[in-house]
């Protein structure tokens, strides 16, 4: 059928010595669900843009990965999310930065591309596009995961005590 799809859930993988069999199985299962979401579009003759939008929205819905509801916390204990989409035909693109509220930031990036003449929008202006587009919003509790909160506390404690290491798993969620 000539279609191809690749996905990633980030480079902040758990070091092998900390990866459990359960966690590994859960991660592969989540990645499999995401591939199915994207492939369902392509195998039905859908566009590459729709496929990457659905795949990334599925990744954002998985708390295992650092985006959407699995997003890590800022040092202030809040969430600031960024997203982008780009289409190869004419290099049209949409991107958002520093936002929190829309369940799927990738759908807001696509709304910026399709509903404005801009490429990158931030903050309240971007959220206004999300409301105009009727995108789903979630409250802060939806984006809370104990694991990310614990990771924030650990990072802040390590900073305080001067033992902050370079562990990508912690930094990149």
């Amino acid at each position: 059928s000539g279609y191809s799809l690749a996905i990633h859930g980030g480079a902040g993988v758990l070091p092998r010595e900390r990866m459990t069999a359960e966690r590994e199985a859960a991660t592969h299962a989540a990645l499999g669900r995401v591939l199915s979401a994207g492939e369902a579009v392509l195998s039905g003759g859908g566009s590459a843009l729709d496929a990457v939008t659905e795949a990334v929205a599925a990744l954002e819905d998985e708390p295992l990965f650092n985006a959407g509801r699995g997003a890590v916390f800022t040092r202030d204990g809040k969430h600031e999310m960024d997203a982008a989409v780009m289409v190869g035909r004419d290099r049209s693109a949409g991107a958002v930065a520093g936002i929190c509220g829309p369940r799927n930031p990738v759908r807001l990036a696509r709304a910026v591309m399709e509903r404005t003449s801009h490429v990158l929008m931030i903050g309240e202006g971007a959220l206004g596009i999300a409301r105009d587009a009727g995108l789903a919003f979630e409250d802060d509790a939806y984006f809370f995961t104990q694991e990310r909160w614990d990771s924030l506390q650990e990072t802040l404690r390590m900073e305080q005590s001067g033992e902050l290491d370079d562990d990508p798993a912690r930094r990149h969620g």
């Binding site: 000539g2 990633h8 980030g10 392509l42 650092n66 982008a84 693109a93 990158l120 924030l152």
Partner: protein, 133 residues
């Protein structure tokens, strides 16, 4: 950070990336994900790319644009260009991370210079895989 790249049955390419940023980041800090040409890129003539890792390093190198330029101006393959940028350029400035990329023929590469990258791919021919390390 999460991302996807795709080539559809009509040969069109697209890329998407989304991120929560970095744990304990300063308010207002933005990495490469929403910056076109750094963490996200697509051009039907060369490739589609979604990156993950030290955002500041990917921004300084304009990683996605660099790979596109190597392909467009020097005729490099996606594999050659992506592996050079991740394996040499990124390493040279002390950055870590990886990316997924697809070229106009649907070939997929997933280079990274750290311990692993959560990733997966599926082809219309039926090949399908997920990997971590």
């Amino acid at each position: 950070t999460v991302g996807a790249v795709a080539r559809d049955a009509e040969g069109r390419l697209a890329a998407a990336t989304s991120t929560g940023g970095m744990t304990a980041k300063r308010a207002g800090r933005v990495g490469d994900s929403p910056v076109i040409g750094a963490g996200t890129f697509a051009d039907d003539g060369t490739c589609a790319i979604s990156a993950t890792g030290d955002g500041e390093a990917f921004l300084r190198l304009s990683v996605a644009h660099e790979i596109d330029a190597r392909m467009r101006l020097r005729g490099e393959s996606l594999r050659s260009a992506a592996e050079a940028v991740i394996g040499s350029d990124l390493e040279a400035i002390g950055g870590s991370g990886g990316l997924i990329a697809i070229d106009r023929d649907g070939a997929i590469v997933t280079p990274y210079n750290c311990e692993g990258m959560y990733r997966g791919w599926v082809l219309g021919s039926g090949e399908r895989e997920t990997a971590i390390y």
